[in-house]
Symmetry: C2
Subunit: 210 residues, 2 copies
DNA sequence: GGGCATATAGTAGGTTCCGACTATTAGGAA
DNA sequence: TTCCTAATAGTCGGAACCTACTATATGCCC
């Protein structure tokens, strides 16, 4: 499978918005924020303008007019093309169908959880769990006042439910891990420098060596 | 909180490895792969050399010798510094403690799940669920032959358990969503262009308008 | 013992991405 | 009226990142 011409997912958001109506980049950013889509897409003005240009280069969108309001900077309004419309659907299909490796920062840190020691680790994990809890509450509130009130169809906010589910899972894992460190079921080896590489203490009678 | 000098998590991996012993970049990559850490860190030789250079620039690591074996390219061996050691622990603590926004590609695509239509969506989601299932099985196998056999302490592979948990959650959400689309409990509005913006059909008697 | 795949070690070059900045207008406080 | 802030609209320079490539050495199959 050949690599995508434009791989930034912000491009997906742009294509999505232009399915509805022509827009200029600044408006795209505003609409995305209004609809809470800025939790699924990193909406950064620098990236946005780059992305729009790249999409135009490849013929997936095209400028339809440039307006100027007083002495404000000129704005270029873009519309999607037939090509862009097809690509939009194919891209979504591919992204849903095929999981790709991602490298969340948390996973990287958990890799070296050992470096914090059992107390440092439980402390840091506990704080994370609290932050996650707060974020989960906020998200639930957003869902309640949009989908819950019938103002927005549930399908249009489905990614928020998906994210919510992921955070809940992360919170649960975090809490469970804290508990396992506390009650000793996650054994904490003491690593020591040996003449050749490292040795670590083992839970029962096992001894390991790298 | 001031921004980190080097924010690439690959730098965390480098610091982690150098806590054990001095190494040259190529060896770091090999060791990371050996230990299955390449699922938490994107190990790319180009990025690796850049990252190592950046760490050296900031004084977190330093070159200790350059060797040459026959006519092979020269290799520079690096060691961590006191600064790098402190930074390593602080960085991990921060990453664990404070969740940061990330933008997985799947979330972006789910945002526009509607574009696939109910049948296209269930089809794509089902394929994803199968891929996830396969990945989960593989990961379990890896855990069994390392931690399960007592060759590696569980703490040293804890990030693999964390990832496993996340994938299981994603698989569950995916399966549940497929079921909800099929049985109609996730209502699929038909969106239509109106004179001003868009209208969509509503499940019961509700009507919405953006 | 010739050829081919793989492991070793790193470089080069370009694209993408992002934070920080510019400049104008509108609205309200004082 | 003037000052200050927020909103509007976008630019710019540099860091990060990744792909593709170079070049040597080694093992091994036939």
């Amino acid at each position: 499978m050949a690599k995508r011409k434009v791989s930034n997912t912000l491009a997906l958001a742009v294509l999505g918005l232009l399915q509805e109506q022509p827009m200029h980049p600044y408006e795209m950013a505003s609409v995305l924020r209004e609809r809470h889509k800025d939790s699924s897409f990193k909406v950064n003005s620098g990236s946005l303008y780059d992305t729009v240009e790249a999409l135009a280069r490849h013929g997936w969108i095209e400028p339809v007019e440039t307006e100027r309001d007083g002495r404000r900077p000129e704005r270029t309004v873009y519309a999607h093309t037939k090509l862009g419309q097809d690509e939009f659907v194919h891209w979504i299909d591919e992204l849903i169908r095929t999981p790709v490796a991602e490298y969340p920062k948390f996973m990287a840190a958990v890799s070296y959880l050992g470096a914090l020691g059992p107390d440092g680790a439980t402390d840091a994990l506990a704080e994370r769990a609290d932050h996650l809890e707060a974020r989960i509450e906020e998200t639930r509130a957003v869902l309640a006042e949009t989908v819950g009130s019938g103002r927005v169809p549930r399908l249009f906010m489905i990614e928020v439910e998906c994210a919510l589910h992921a955070w809940e899972a992360e919170r649960d894992w975090t809490r469970r891990t804290i508990a396992e460190i506390r009650d000793g079921s996650l054994f904490w080896p003491r690593v020591e420098r040996a003449e050749q590489g490292w040795t670590w203490s083992a839970p029962a009678d096992q001894k390991g060596r790298k």
